[in-house]
Subunit: 347 residues, 2 copies
């Protein structure tokens, strides 16, 4: 079968590899229909973070179950499913508390390579999200939104959810990438009164507004913080969602919160230094982390997509076939696409 | 009048100084009955943190209002009051959100010198906590508990409150000083099911048990974390209250939490470096800060003391008169007293 592989920085190729097999009775093999490129993939694409060469890539997909292991009773071949980037057992302490992204039984190296014709999905009975009906029952827009539930929408929602938004809260969002845009949707779902998106890109700002942002702030760094203070009577925002992961963004986020604010991070962090005393003296809480994809999809997000209440699929602004996967990465790397979809097979 | 002053590291003296006067219409002058020494005072007493020489000291007291400014309508001379270490305006955004310890209108250098015969209390109408009746209406034990509401009990409660304890939660407490012991009381008030106190001191462990601790763990560092993991099926605790402020303690606290845990800090931090990525990858939230003394006292703690539901005054294990204030500090510095009371005047 064909699969995308990381060749070296700046270069993703398509190779003929062996079709994955059921290895454990809790596995399923999924025939991938659509996959996509994640902002976090750009770290290794750009050579900033290390990744072994010639490894399978991709961690977001939707598809059709092709085969299941002996212990998978809740899913069967033919089922239409979301394959989250997390793969949770459903019964450990982390899963039970709603933190399935931290499942204690996640298989290291499991679920490798979603940008491929087939993939092995571990813990299929609990980790996969079953979509009612078949792909033919949905419009292209709905299919895109279902694909977004494999990571980006669940991660944006996780930012909002972790920050414990209360109805009417003023929420600031740092990062106008696909995750930050989905965080706007999450903040709105949770009842935020005012949603301030930090953005200096016309297309992203427009989408943020469409998703529910009430204000757009183009400033950065010190000026961004000054602007937020001006907009909140000098107090700071109730909640700040940090969807970038850089040191500057986290620092600005912390400074943008009022005493007692929650600052929630979902951008994969690439710096680990922040002044934690700045948190202490102002009672600012630092929260967030790896998204609880299964928990959020099952409790809230799948229904919201099926009801047409949210349309996160709009973050996909470009599509490519698997043979052009290199272009899918390049489009995001060059910020020409907010998020790239990869069409792998017809239903 | 007599007042305690910081002379130089390891030396606190008593000096004749001018009696403070009303400076602003929102001030009151309080005749101090009892003050006390705080664990945070030991930082400058030991010379670890800088403090100008010959400055008035002390930030926790109870007393009788002697005089009020023209704009103080809710307090009058003769009223029996708690003087919190915070001094909040009651109407700014921080005060309104319940973070009075971060009041935007706190007067820099206001409320100096609680270990004195008289003190100037700023924002008297909102910052002071009125105690019903007169000192003669209370036992020595109750008086001690009322004094504890000026800081240590409110700070211990703040740790528990900031960590958003849910009924039945397993809560670990690092720090068996007066604040950590009061955090036990706070955790119990908020419904914790299991309260694990880290302590290797017989007297403090006994008081922790009396306050509601269900388990005592003497280990430190890596062994402490291993022990917590053993006690929680390898998952970690739901909530961790960090009442020390050292780098090692914060690091152990973070590692002791389960995925999704809240780690709450109220120990005044003296290091600002922690691995914030360790928080991210396990969805551990870092919260806490300067206590909301007025908010907690008025909403919860004063009533709990008056009802006899809590007895935080038991943390005072030694008393001194003002002339022996040096000994009051030494007793805490040498860990011979959990917390030192200073008797300044009879009612
Ligand atoms: Zn992703
Ligand atoms: Zn699990
Ligand atoms: Zn204190
Ligand atoms: Zn205030």
């Amino acid at each position: 079968m064909k699969a995308a592989v990381f060749v070296e920085p700046e270069h993703v190729g398509v190779r003929e590899v062996e079709r994955p097999r059921i290895e454990k009775p809790t596995d399923a093999i999924v025939r991938v229909l659509k996959a996509c490129v994640c902002g976090s993939d750009l770290w290794w694409f750009r050579g900033i973070s290390e990744r072994p060469h010639n490894t399978l890539v991709g961690h977001e997909a939707i598809g059709i179950i092709d085969e299941v292991g002996a212990d998978v009773h809740d899913m069967k071949p033919g089922d239409f499913v979301i394959v989250p980037f997390t793969h949770c057992c459903g019964h450990c302490e982390a899963c039970e508390k709603g933190y399935d992204g931290n499942c204690f039984n996640m298989e290291p190296g499991g679920n490798a390579g979603y940008q491929a014709e087939y993939m092995r999905a571990t813990w299929a009975g609990t980790a996969l999200i079953k979509i009612p009906g078949t792909p033919a029952d949905y419009t292209d827009e709905q299919i895109a939104s279902l694909l977004a539930l494999s990571d980006v929408m669940a991660t944006g929602y996780h930012a909002a959810w972790s920050s414990r938004i209360e109805p009417g809260d003023t929420v600031v969002i740092y990062g106008d990438g696909a995750v930050g845009l989905c965080a706007v949707i999450g903040a709105k779902l949770l009842g935020a009164g005012r949603i301030i998106m930090m953005s200096r890109h016309e297309d992203r700002a427009a989408l943020a507004r469409e998703f529910g942002a009430t204000d757009i702030v183009p400033e950065r760094g010190d000026e961004a913080v000054a602007r937020i203070m001006e907009m909140t009577n000098g107090a700071g925002a109730d909640r700040v969602l940090e969807c970038v992961g850089s040191e500057q963004s986290i620092e600005s986020a912390v400074r943008s919160g009022r005493p007692g604010a929650y600052v929630s991070r979902v951008g994969v962090p690439h710096d680990n230094s922040i002044d934690v005393n700045a948190l202490f003296w102002r009672n600012v809480s630092l929260t967030g982390g790896i998204a609880s994809v299964a928990t959020h999809d099952k409790s809230t997000l799948l229904k919201a997509v099926l009801d047409g209440e949210i349309n996160p699929g709009k973050v996909f602004t470009a599509s490519f076939d698997l043979d052009h996967v290199q272009q899918a990465y390049e489009a995001m790397d060059g910020r020409r696409a907010i998020k790239s979809m990869i069409d792998i097979a017809e239903a």
